[in-house]
Protein backbone atom coordinates (compact mmCIF):
# COMPACT_ATOMS: atom_id res chain seq x y z
CA UNK A 1 0.00 0.00 0.00
CA UNK A 2 1.32 3.40 -1.04
CA UNK A 3 0.99 5.53 2.12
CA UNK A 4 0.69 9.19 1.19
CA UNK A 5 0.48 11.97 3.75
CA UNK A 6 -0.65 15.47 2.84
CA UNK A 7 0.86 17.56 5.61
CA UNK A 8 -1.84 19.66 7.24
CA UNK A 9 -0.65 22.64 9.24
CA UNK A 10 -3.98 24.41 9.26
CA UNK A 11 -3.36 26.68 6.29
CA UNK A 12 -6.07 26.42 3.69
CA UNK A 13 -8.04 23.72 2.04
CA UNK A 14 -6.17 20.51 1.41
CA UNK A 15 -9.08 18.52 0.13
CA UNK A 16 -8.38 19.47 -3.48
CA UNK A 17 -4.94 17.89 -3.32
CA UNK A 18 -6.38 14.81 -1.65
CA UNK A 19 -9.18 14.46 -4.18
CA UNK A 20 -6.81 14.85 -7.10
CA UNK A 21 -4.46 12.18 -5.67
CA UNK A 22 -7.32 9.75 -5.18
CA UNK A 23 -8.53 10.51 -8.67
CA UNK A 24 -5.20 9.43 -10.20
CA UNK A 25 -4.85 6.37 -7.97
CA UNK A 26 -7.76 4.95 -5.98
CA UNK A 27 -5.53 2.42 -4.22
CA UNK A 28 -3.36 4.81 -2.21
CA UNK A 29 -3.73 5.13 1.53
CA UNK A 30 -4.20 8.86 1.98
CA UNK A 31 -4.01 10.86 5.21
CA UNK A 32 -4.28 14.59 5.64
CA UNK A 33 -2.58 15.21 8.96
CA UNK A 34 0.12 16.91 11.03
CA UNK A 35 0.70 13.80 13.14
CA UNK A 36 4.43 13.11 13.48
CA UNK A 37 4.07 9.34 13.58
CA UNK A 38 2.02 9.26 10.38
CA UNK A 39 4.47 11.60 8.66
CA UNK A 40 7.37 9.36 9.70
CA UNK A 41 5.56 6.20 8.57
CA UNK A 42 4.48 7.58 5.19
CA UNK A 43 6.00 6.38 1.91
CA UNK A 44 5.76 9.86 0.45
CA UNK A 45 4.79 13.35 1.58
CA UNK A 46 2.97 16.26 0.05
CA UNK A 47 3.77 19.64 1.54
CA UNK A 48 1.22 22.20 0.33
CA UNK A 49 0.49 25.71 1.55
CA UNK A 50 -1.52 28.82 0.96
CA UNK A 51 -1.78 32.13 2.77
CA UNK A 52 0.76 34.38 4.37
CA UNK A 53 4.28 33.09 5.08
CA UNK A 54 4.55 34.35 8.65
CA UNK A 55 1.40 32.46 9.69
CA UNK A 56 2.53 29.38 7.76
CA UNK A 57 5.98 29.34 9.37
CA UNK A 58 4.52 29.87 12.83
CA UNK A 59 2.37 26.76 12.44
CA UNK A 60 5.16 24.77 10.76
CA UNK A 61 7.43 25.47 13.74
CA UNK A 62 4.75 24.93 16.35
CA UNK A 63 3.93 21.52 14.90
CA UNK A 64 7.65 20.76 14.31
CA UNK A 65 6.96 20.10 10.63
CA UNK A 66 10.33 21.70 9.78
CA UNK A 67 12.18 19.07 11.77
CA UNK A 68 10.11 16.24 10.28
CA UNK A 69 10.80 17.48 6.74
CA UNK A 70 14.52 17.72 7.38
CA UNK A 71 14.49 14.06 8.45
CA UNK A 72 12.16 12.96 5.68
CA UNK A 73 14.19 14.51 2.84
CA UNK A 74 16.82 11.81 3.35
CA UNK A 75 14.27 9.00 3.26
CA UNK A 76 11.30 9.52 0.98
CA UNK A 77 9.90 11.55 -1.91
CA UNK A 78 8.45 14.94 -0.97
CA UNK A 79 6.34 17.18 -3.21
CA UNK A 80 6.16 20.86 -2.22
CA UNK A 81 3.32 22.94 -3.66
CA UNK A 82 3.02 26.75 -3.87
CA UNK A 83 3.74 28.27 -0.43
CA UNK A 84 4.99 24.81 0.56
CA UNK A 85 7.73 25.20 -2.04
CA UNK A 86 8.54 28.72 -0.87
CA UNK A 87 8.74 27.61 2.75
CA UNK A 88 11.49 25.11 1.80
CA UNK A 89 13.93 27.95 1.08
CA UNK A 90 15.88 30.10 3.53
CA UNK A 91 13.99 33.31 3.46
CA UNK A 92 10.87 35.05 2.15
CA UNK A 93 10.35 38.79 1.75
CA UNK A 94 6.69 38.38 2.69
CA UNK A 95 5.40 39.99 5.92
CA UNK A 96 8.53 42.18 6.18
CA UNK A 97 10.78 39.15 6.00
CA UNK A 98 10.36 35.63 7.36
CA UNK A 99 12.99 32.97 7.96
CA UNK A 100 11.77 29.76 6.39
CA UNK A 101 12.69 26.09 6.80
CA UNK A 102 15.88 26.27 4.76
CA UNK A 103 15.93 22.81 3.16
CA UNK A 104 18.08 24.55 0.57
CA UNK A 105 19.45 28.06 0.01
CA UNK A 106 17.35 30.57 -1.87
CA UNK A 107 15.10 33.58 -1.54
CA UNK A 108 11.46 34.35 -2.14
CA UNK A 109 10.62 37.83 -3.41
CA UNK A 110 7.50 39.74 -4.42
CA UNK A 111 6.50 40.50 -8.00
CA UNK A 112 6.83 44.25 -8.50
CA UNK A 113 3.57 45.97 -9.28
CA UNK A 114 3.16 48.04 -12.42
CA UNK A 115 5.37 45.86 -14.63
CA UNK A 116 4.39 45.62 -18.29
CA UNK A 117 4.65 42.77 -20.77
CA UNK A 118 6.17 42.97 -24.26
CA UNK A 119 2.91 44.45 -25.59
CA UNK A 120 3.00 47.16 -22.93
CA UNK A 121 0.06 45.62 -21.06
CA UNK A 122 -0.02 45.90 -17.27
CA UNK A 123 0.90 42.68 -15.47
CA UNK A 124 -1.37 42.04 -12.52
CA UNK A 125 -0.29 40.81 -9.11
CA UNK A 126 -1.12 38.09 -8.02
CA UNK A 127 0.23 36.19 -11.00
CA UNK A 128 -2.99 34.26 -11.54
CA UNK A 129 -3.81 31.82 -14.30
CA UNK A 130 -2.21 29.38 -16.70
CA UNK A 131 1.44 29.93 -17.56
CA UNK A 132 4.02 27.86 -19.39
CA UNK A 133 6.59 25.82 -17.51
CA UNK A 134 9.80 25.28 -19.41
CA UNK A 135 11.44 22.03 -18.34
CA UNK A 136 15.03 23.10 -17.78
CA UNK A 137 16.18 19.73 -16.50
CA UNK A 138 15.20 16.21 -17.43
CA UNK A 139 13.49 14.71 -14.43
CA UNK A 140 11.29 11.62 -13.85
CA UNK A 141 8.56 13.91 -12.50
CA UNK A 142 8.17 15.40 -15.99
CA UNK A 143 7.40 11.96 -17.46
CA UNK A 144 4.59 12.18 -20.06
CA UNK A 145 4.32 15.97 -19.67
CA UNK A 146 5.10 17.96 -22.79
CA UNK A 147 7.71 20.69 -22.37
CA UNK A 148 6.17 24.16 -21.96
CA UNK A 149 2.81 22.81 -20.84
CA UNK A 150 0.65 25.31 -19.01
CA UNK A 151 -0.07 24.93 -15.30
CA UNK A 152 -2.30 26.97 -12.97
CA UNK A 153 -0.54 29.55 -10.78
CA UNK A 154 -1.80 31.90 -8.11
CA UNK A 155 0.87 33.72 -6.13
CA UNK A 156 2.38 37.13 -5.47
CA UNK A 157 5.79 35.88 -4.30
CA UNK A 158 8.23 33.76 -6.28
CA UNK A 159 11.53 31.92 -5.94
CA UNK A 160 14.27 33.98 -7.56
CA UNK A 161 16.38 31.92 -9.96
CA UNK A 162 19.65 33.72 -9.27
CA UNK A 163 19.74 32.85 -5.58
CA UNK A 164 19.58 29.12 -6.29
CA UNK A 165 22.98 28.77 -7.87
CA UNK A 166 25.42 27.18 -5.52
CA UNK A 167 24.89 24.25 -3.18
CA UNK A 168 21.21 24.54 -3.74
CA UNK A 169 18.41 22.72 -5.47
CA UNK A 170 18.35 22.37 -9.23
CA UNK A 171 15.94 24.53 -11.15
CA UNK A 172 13.89 22.01 -13.11
CA UNK A 173 11.16 24.35 -14.33
CA UNK A 174 11.17 27.99 -15.30
CA UNK A 175 8.38 30.43 -16.14
CA UNK A 176 8.29 34.15 -16.95
CA UNK A 177 6.25 37.05 -15.56
CA UNK A 178 7.73 39.13 -17.20
CA UNK A 179 11.16 38.04 -15.94
CA UNK A 180 12.15 34.42 -15.46
CA UNK A 181 11.29 32.87 -12.11
CA UNK A 182 11.72 29.41 -10.73
CA UNK A 183 8.51 27.40 -11.12
CA UNK A 184 9.95 23.98 -10.18
CA UNK A 185 12.92 22.94 -8.03
CA UNK A 186 14.37 19.52 -7.29
CA UNK A 187 16.96 18.17 -4.87
CA UNK A 188 17.42 14.51 -3.92
CA UNK A 189 14.02 13.36 -2.71
CA UNK A 190 12.40 16.76 -3.12
CA UNK A 191 10.40 18.06 -6.04
CA UNK A 192 8.73 21.41 -5.46
CA UNK A 193 6.43 23.43 -7.70
CA UNK A 194 5.07 26.97 -7.55
CA UNK A 195 1.93 26.07 -9.50
CA UNK A 196 -1.01 23.95 -8.34
CA UNK A 197 -0.90 20.50 -9.96
CA UNK A 198 -4.24 19.65 -8.33
CA UNK A 199 -5.81 22.53 -10.29
CA UNK A 200 -3.91 22.08 -13.54
CA UNK A 201 -6.21 19.58 -15.24
CA UNK A 202 -4.53 16.75 -17.19
CA UNK A 203 -0.91 17.98 -16.91
CA UNK A 204 -1.29 18.50 -13.18
CA UNK A 205 -2.88 15.10 -12.67
CA UNK A 206 -0.03 13.50 -14.65
CA UNK A 207 2.50 15.19 -12.35
CA UNK A 208 0.69 13.81 -9.30
CA UNK A 209 0.58 10.39 -10.93
CA UNK A 210 4.34 10.61 -11.55
CA UNK A 211 4.88 11.54 -7.92
CA UNK A 212 2.96 8.50 -6.66
CA UNK A 213 5.42 6.20 -8.40
CA UNK A 214 8.60 8.30 -8.10
CA UNK A 215 11.41 6.64 -6.14
CA UNK A 216 13.09 9.95 -5.28
CA UNK A 217 16.00 9.37 -7.66
CA UNK A 218 16.90 11.56 -10.60
Amino acid sequence: MNRVVVIDYGMGNLHSVGKALEHVDKNISLSITSDAQQIQDADRLIFPGVGAMRDCMAEIKRLKIDKLLKEARLEKPILGICVGMQAMLDFSEENNGVDCIGLFPGRVERFSEGQKDENNELLKVPHMGWNEVKQTFEHPMWHNIVDKSRFYFVHSYYVTPDTCKENSATIVGESTYPKAFCSALADDNIFAVQFHPEKSQSCGLQLLKNFLSWDGQV
Binding site: G12, N13, S16, V50, K124, P126, M128, N131, Q201
Partner: protein
Protein backbone atom coordinates in the same frame (compact mmCIF):
# COMPACT_ATOMS: atom_id res chain seq x y z
CA UNK B 1 5.88 32.73 -23.26
CA UNK B 2 3.27 34.56 -21.31
CA UNK B 3 0.31 34.15 -19.05
CA UNK B 4 -2.81 33.00 -20.92
CA UNK B 5 -6.03 34.97 -20.81
CA UNK B 6 -8.68 32.92 -19.09
CA UNK B 7 -12.10 31.82 -20.32
CA UNK B 8 -14.49 31.16 -17.45
CA UNK B 9 -17.89 29.61 -17.98
CA UNK B 10 -20.31 30.70 -15.27
CA UNK B 11 -22.94 28.45 -13.75
CA UNK B 12 -25.78 30.47 -12.24
CA UNK B 13 -27.55 27.92 -10.07
CA UNK B 14 -30.91 27.90 -8.39
CA UNK B 15 -32.14 24.99 -6.28
CA UNK B 16 -29.38 22.78 -7.62
CA UNK B 17 -29.93 23.48 -11.33
CA UNK B 18 -28.02 25.68 -13.76
CA UNK B 19 -30.21 28.56 -14.90
CA UNK B 20 -29.52 31.76 -16.76
CA UNK B 21 -31.79 34.72 -16.70
CA UNK B 22 -32.10 37.57 -19.15
CA UNK B 23 -31.65 40.78 -17.18
CA UNK B 24 -32.19 38.67 -14.07
CA UNK B 25 -35.62 37.54 -15.27
CA UNK B 26 -36.93 34.82 -17.55
CA UNK B 27 -34.95 31.91 -16.20
CA UNK B 28 -34.20 28.97 -18.54
CA UNK B 29 -33.00 25.60 -17.32
CA UNK B 30 -29.52 24.63 -18.53
CA UNK B 31 -28.89 21.39 -16.69
CA UNK B 32 -27.17 19.63 -13.83
CA UNK B 33 -24.28 21.75 -12.51
CA UNK B 34 -21.93 18.82 -11.94
CA UNK B 35 -22.37 17.53 -15.49
CA UNK B 36 -22.10 21.01 -16.95
CA UNK B 37 -18.95 21.82 -14.96
CA UNK B 38 -17.32 18.54 -15.94
CA UNK B 39 -18.14 19.12 -19.60
CA UNK B 40 -16.55 22.58 -19.54
CA UNK B 41 -13.48 21.27 -17.74
CA UNK B 42 -13.04 18.49 -20.33
CA UNK B 43 -13.43 21.08 -23.10
CA UNK B 44 -10.55 23.12 -21.70
CA UNK B 45 -12.24 25.84 -19.62
CA UNK B 46 -9.63 27.64 -17.52
CA UNK B 47 -11.78 27.98 -14.41
CA UNK B 48 -15.39 27.49 -13.36
CA UNK B 49 -17.48 30.06 -11.54
CA UNK B 50 -20.51 28.81 -9.65
CA UNK B 51 -22.99 31.48 -8.55
CA UNK B 52 -25.78 30.42 -6.23
CA UNK B 53 -28.73 32.67 -6.99
CA UNK B 54 -31.15 30.83 -4.71
CA UNK B 55 -33.00 33.53 -2.86
CA UNK B 56 -33.58 31.78 0.45
CA UNK B 57 -30.85 30.50 2.69
CA UNK B 58 -32.75 27.23 3.26
CA UNK B 59 -31.09 25.56 0.35
CA UNK B 60 -27.48 26.20 1.35
CA UNK B 61 -27.10 22.50 1.99
CA UNK B 62 -27.85 21.78 -1.67
CA UNK B 63 -25.22 24.29 -2.71
CA UNK B 64 -22.56 22.80 -0.45
CA UNK B 65 -23.26 19.30 -1.80
CA UNK B 66 -23.13 20.58 -5.38
CA UNK B 67 -19.80 22.31 -4.75
CA UNK B 68 -18.43 19.12 -3.21
CA UNK B 69 -19.57 17.07 -6.18
CA UNK B 70 -18.06 19.52 -8.69
CA UNK B 71 -14.77 19.76 -6.79
CA UNK B 72 -14.30 16.00 -6.69
CA UNK B 73 -14.52 15.76 -10.49
CA UNK B 74 -13.17 19.03 -11.79
CA UNK B 75 -9.43 19.68 -11.45
CA UNK B 76 -9.36 23.33 -12.43
CA UNK B 77 -10.02 26.31 -10.14
CA UNK B 78 -13.55 26.74 -8.85
CA UNK B 79 -14.99 30.02 -7.59
CA UNK B 80 -18.20 29.97 -5.58
CA UNK B 81 -20.39 33.02 -5.02
CA UNK B 82 -23.86 33.92 -3.82
CA UNK B 83 -24.89 34.32 -0.21
CA UNK B 84 -21.37 34.51 1.21
CA UNK B 85 -22.02 36.55 4.37
CA UNK B 86 -19.73 35.31 7.11
CA UNK B 87 -16.24 33.91 7.63
CA UNK B 88 -17.98 30.64 8.44
CA UNK B 89 -19.71 30.67 5.02
CA UNK B 90 -16.28 31.06 3.41
CA UNK B 91 -14.78 28.26 5.47
CA UNK B 92 -17.64 25.93 4.54
CA UNK B 93 -17.23 26.65 0.82
CA UNK B 94 -13.43 26.26 0.87
CA UNK B 95 -13.77 23.00 2.76
CA UNK B 96 -16.35 21.83 0.23
CA UNK B 97 -13.67 22.29 -2.43
CA UNK B 98 -13.99 25.88 -3.67
CA UNK B 99 -10.67 27.57 -4.42
CA UNK B 100 -12.08 31.09 -4.24
CA UNK B 101 -15.24 32.72 -2.98
CA UNK B 102 -16.95 35.71 -4.56
CA UNK B 103 -18.30 38.30 -2.13
CA UNK B 104 -20.82 40.82 -3.42
CA UNK B 105 -23.63 42.31 -1.30
CA UNK B 106 -21.91 41.52 1.99
CA UNK B 107 -18.90 43.59 0.93
CA UNK B 108 -21.16 46.59 0.33
CA UNK B 109 -23.02 46.13 3.62
CA UNK B 110 -19.79 45.62 5.57
CA UNK B 111 -16.54 46.44 3.72
CA UNK B 112 -14.51 45.30 6.75
CA UNK B 113 -15.75 41.78 6.01
CA UNK B 114 -13.47 41.69 2.94
CA UNK B 115 -10.50 42.70 5.11
CA UNK B 116 -11.27 40.01 7.67
CA UNK B 117 -11.76 37.40 4.94
CA UNK B 118 -8.48 38.25 3.21
CA UNK B 119 -6.61 38.25 6.53
CA UNK B 120 -8.01 34.89 7.51
CA UNK B 121 -7.98 32.99 4.24
CA UNK B 122 -5.53 34.96 2.07
CA UNK B 123 -6.23 37.36 -0.79
CA UNK B 124 -5.75 34.58 -3.33
CA UNK B 125 -9.16 33.13 -2.49
CA UNK B 126 -11.12 36.36 -2.06
CA UNK B 127 -12.88 37.62 -5.18
CA UNK B 128 -14.99 40.75 -4.85
CA UNK B 129 -17.93 40.69 -7.26
CA UNK B 130 -19.05 44.12 -8.39
CA UNK B 131 -22.36 44.80 -10.14
CA UNK B 132 -22.11 48.20 -11.79
CA UNK B 133 -24.53 50.29 -13.81
CA UNK B 134 -23.79 53.40 -15.83
CA UNK B 135 -25.29 56.44 -14.14
CA UNK B 136 -23.82 59.25 -16.23
CA UNK B 137 -26.05 60.74 -18.90
CA UNK B 138 -25.18 61.41 -22.51
CA UNK B 139 -22.38 63.91 -22.91
CA UNK B 140 -21.33 63.62 -19.26
CA UNK B 141 -18.07 61.97 -18.19
CA UNK B 142 -18.63 58.24 -17.79
CA UNK B 143 -19.59 57.11 -14.31
CA UNK B 144 -20.80 53.82 -12.90
CA UNK B 145 -22.49 53.03 -9.62
CA UNK B 146 -22.55 49.84 -7.56
CA UNK B 147 -25.91 48.06 -7.32
CA UNK B 148 -26.83 45.13 -5.09
CA UNK B 149 -29.67 42.61 -4.87
CA UNK B 150 -29.44 41.52 -8.47
CA UNK B 151 -29.22 45.06 -9.77
CA UNK B 152 -32.24 46.43 -7.94
CA UNK B 153 -30.65 48.43 -5.13
CA UNK B 154 -28.46 51.46 -5.82
CA UNK B 155 -25.76 52.08 -3.23
CA UNK B 156 -24.42 55.52 -4.11
CA UNK B 157 -20.92 54.01 -4.43
CA UNK B 158 -18.78 54.94 -7.43
CA UNK B 159 -17.61 51.74 -9.14
CA UNK B 160 -13.99 52.75 -9.72
CA UNK B 161 -13.50 54.06 -6.19
CA UNK B 162 -15.15 50.95 -4.82
CA UNK B 163 -12.91 48.62 -6.80
CA UNK B 164 -9.81 50.45 -5.55
CA UNK B 165 -11.03 50.23 -1.99
CA UNK B 166 -11.81 46.52 -2.24
CA UNK B 167 -8.30 45.82 -3.56
CA UNK B 168 -6.81 47.89 -0.74
CA UNK B 169 -8.86 45.73 1.67
CA UNK B 170 -7.37 42.56 0.25
CA UNK B 171 -9.48 41.41 -2.70
CA UNK B 172 -7.28 39.20 -4.87
CA UNK B 173 -9.45 39.52 -7.95
CA UNK B 174 -12.42 41.55 -9.19
CA UNK B 175 -15.40 39.96 -10.94
CA UNK B 176 -16.98 42.89 -12.74
CA UNK B 177 -20.52 42.62 -14.08
CA UNK B 178 -22.20 45.32 -16.10
CA UNK B 179 -25.86 45.36 -15.11
CA UNK B 180 -26.66 47.27 -18.28
CA UNK B 181 -25.26 44.48 -20.42
CA UNK B 182 -25.98 41.34 -18.42
CA UNK B 183 -28.18 39.02 -20.47
CA UNK B 184 -28.36 41.38 -23.47
CA UNK B 185 -25.80 39.64 -25.71
CA UNK B 186 -24.63 43.10 -26.84
CA UNK B 187 -21.08 42.63 -25.57
CA UNK B 188 -19.22 43.72 -22.44
CA UNK B 189 -19.29 47.32 -21.25
CA UNK B 190 -15.74 47.88 -22.51
CA UNK B 191 -15.31 51.36 -21.05
CA UNK B 192 -16.28 50.12 -17.60
CA UNK B 193 -13.97 47.12 -17.76
CA UNK B 194 -11.07 49.16 -19.04
CA UNK B 195 -11.56 51.90 -16.44
CA UNK B 196 -11.40 49.39 -13.60
CA UNK B 197 -8.80 47.00 -15.01
CA UNK B 198 -6.37 49.84 -15.66
CA UNK B 199 -6.91 51.23 -12.16
CA UNK B 200 -6.45 48.18 -9.96
CA UNK B 201 -3.35 45.99 -9.60
CA UNK B 202 -5.24 42.68 -9.32
CA UNK B 203 -6.77 40.63 -12.15
CA UNK B 204 -10.21 41.64 -13.43
CA UNK B 205 -12.79 39.25 -14.90
CA UNK B 206 -15.24 40.85 -17.33
CA UNK B 207 -18.83 39.67 -17.08
CA UNK B 208 -22.18 40.55 -18.57
CA UNK B 209 -23.28 40.79 -22.18
CA UNK B 210 -21.38 38.20 -24.19
CA UNK B 211 -23.34 37.24 -27.31
CA UNK B 212 -20.60 36.09 -29.65
CA UNK B 213 -16.91 35.24 -29.78
CA UNK B 214 -15.84 38.67 -30.97
CA UNK B 215 -17.20 40.03 -27.67
CA UNK B 216 -14.72 37.83 -25.79
CA UNK B 217 -11.88 39.20 -27.92
CA UNK B 218 -12.96 42.80 -27.36
CA UNK B 219 -13.09 42.23 -23.60
CA UNK B 220 -9.40 41.41 -23.67
CA UNK B 221 -8.14 43.80 -26.33
CA UNK B 222 -10.31 46.83 -25.50
CA UNK B 223 -11.61 46.08 -22.01
CA UNK B 224 -8.02 45.17 -20.98
CA UNK B 225 -9.23 42.45 -18.63
CA UNK B 226 -7.37 39.32 -17.60
CA UNK B 227 -10.26 36.89 -17.94
CA UNK B 228 -13.66 36.75 -19.63
CA UNK B 229 -16.73 35.15 -18.13
CA UNK B 230 -19.77 33.98 -20.06
CA UNK B 231 -22.77 31.78 -19.42
CA UNK B 232 -25.51 31.50 -21.99
CA UNK B 233 -23.36 31.32 -25.14
CA UNK B 234 -21.82 28.17 -23.73
CA UNK B 235 -24.84 26.67 -21.95
CA UNK B 236 -27.13 26.60 -24.94
CA UNK B 237 -24.55 25.20 -27.31
CA UNK B 238 -24.13 28.29 -29.48
CA UNK B 239 -20.37 28.09 -29.04
CA UNK B 240 -18.02 25.64 -27.38
CA UNK B 241 -14.97 26.48 -25.27
CA UNK B 242 -12.58 25.14 -27.96
CA UNK B 243 -14.29 27.34 -30.58
CA UNK B 244 -13.91 30.34 -28.32
CA UNK B 245 -10.21 29.62 -27.72
CA UNK B 246 -9.52 29.00 -31.39
CA UNK B 247 -11.17 32.27 -32.33
CA UNK B 248 -9.34 34.25 -29.64
CA UNK B 249 -6.01 32.70 -30.66
CA UNK B 250 -6.70 33.68 -34.28
CA UNK B 251 -6.97 37.28 -33.07
CA UNK B 252 -3.57 37.09 -31.40
CA UNK B 253 -4.73 36.47 -27.83
CA UNK B 254 -2.67 34.01 -25.77
CA UNK B 255 -4.93 31.20 -24.60
CA UNK B 256 -4.22 27.82 -23.09
Amino acid sequence: MSLAKRIIPCLDCENGRVVKGVKFLDIRDAGDPVEVAKRYCDQGADEITFLDITASSDDRETTVHTVEAIASQVFIPLTVGGGIRTLEDIRIMLNAGADKVAINTSAVLNPEFVKQAADKFGSQCIVVAIDAKQVSGEGEPLQWEIFTHGGRKPTGLDAIEWAKRMVAYGAGEILLTSMDRDGTKNGFDLALNRAISETVSVPVIASGGVGNLQHLVEGITEGKVDAVLAASIFHFGEFSIPEAKKYMASKGIVVR
